[in-house]
Amino acid sequence: MNTITIEVSRYRPEQESEPAFQSFEVPLRKDWVILDALNYIKDYLDGTLSFRWSCRMGVCGSCGMMVNGTPVLTCATFLESYAPGPIRVEPLANFPVSRDLIIEMDAFLRKLKSVKPWIVRKEEKPIEEGEYLQTPSQLADYKQYSMCINCMLCYSACPIFGLEPEFTGPAAIALAQRYNMDNRDEGARERMDELSTEKGIWQCTFVGECSAVCPKNVDPAGAIQRYKVTATSDWWKSFLLPWGNK
């Protein structure tokens, strides 16, 4: 059977002071993705290898890793595309590494929460009045941003986030836009206070790689630029019509 070499980044903090690569030979099967190869290593070659995964179908967003320097979902990336190898598998770039291929994601989760990713209402209408209605066109306004699976590939692709870890980042800002553009939501102003800041949208210099690597075709780069346009027009409105905000 044909095989292919996988160089996996290993980091066991109780043993090593920095990550190092370890090579494994795995079967090169046509129907195998990188995640299958990692599971093969864990099952047959080295049970101590640590990595995250869950659904195996590009929905859960758990198995994002760097493969030959590019952030990808390992469940959606075939081994054969990299033949004859070797293939380098590393933890997602720009994040601290907890162990082997597992990154520290607490800061990311805090950022997600900071943008209030839920429908904010000034006043909820009583249940008797029925549901909040939405036309297909209103749904289309935000639908692409709702496809995000929080896989964090966009953070790994973003050099700005690498240089400035406090940057709220692509997925969280796209998620804010998902709610801002929802006609049922009334929380845009609260989110603007959080995001029209140096750590928020103004940190972005429009590299555009976040959108290029997104496995769900979300366009976070576009979301951030649209946010900048809204923030600028809001600022001009409050400058020229200061009484308008009262």
């Binding site: 903090p13 109780e14 043993q15 002071s17 601290p96 210099t205 790689e209």
Partner: protein, 134 residues
């Protein structure tokens, strides 16, 4: 391997090398776009000095235009123009991402948004050119 005091057990933070932007073409392209903004600023400065020389004595204007015609300045201008065109074109191509305009339920296509930006650029350039000639 035994656990020693030098192994912190903490998450490992990877450092970003200073020359991170030359490793991949996409990063280099982005940095070039950002750096060529210097060409835009330089052109603005030259334009402001040009206007200043017009507002001063005619000899100042003559001296300034003579300076602009020197071989060094022509080479500088060609380089600046190259940088300015690269910067402007890459930005105008990105404009539709930021400008999502809807008229009713119809969203203006990306191509039209970019075309409007280019049209504005050309019209303003011609107006300035006409003003400079007259």
């Amino acid at each position: 391997m035994e656990n020693t005091s030098e192994h912190s057990g903490k998450p490992f933070v990877r450092k970003i090398p200073i020359f991170w932007w030359i490793r991949r073409w996409v990063d280099l392209r982005f940095v070039l776009r950002e750096l060529t903004s210097v060409c835009v600023a330089a052109y603005c400065m030259i334009f402001l000095f040009y206007v200043r020389s017009i507002l001063m004595r005619p000899e100042a204007y003559e001296a300034f235009t003579a300076q602009l015609q020197s071989p060094v300045m022509i080479v500088v201008h060609v380089l600046l123009l190259g940088g300015l065109l690269y910067h402007s074109i890459t930005w105008f191509n990105l404009a539709p991402k930021a400008m999502v305009i809807k008229i009713g339920t119809w969203q203006i296509p990306d191509l039209l948004v970019a075309a409007a930006n280019y049209a504005g650029w050309i019209v303003i350039s011609f107006v300035l050119f006409w003003l400079a000639l007259n």
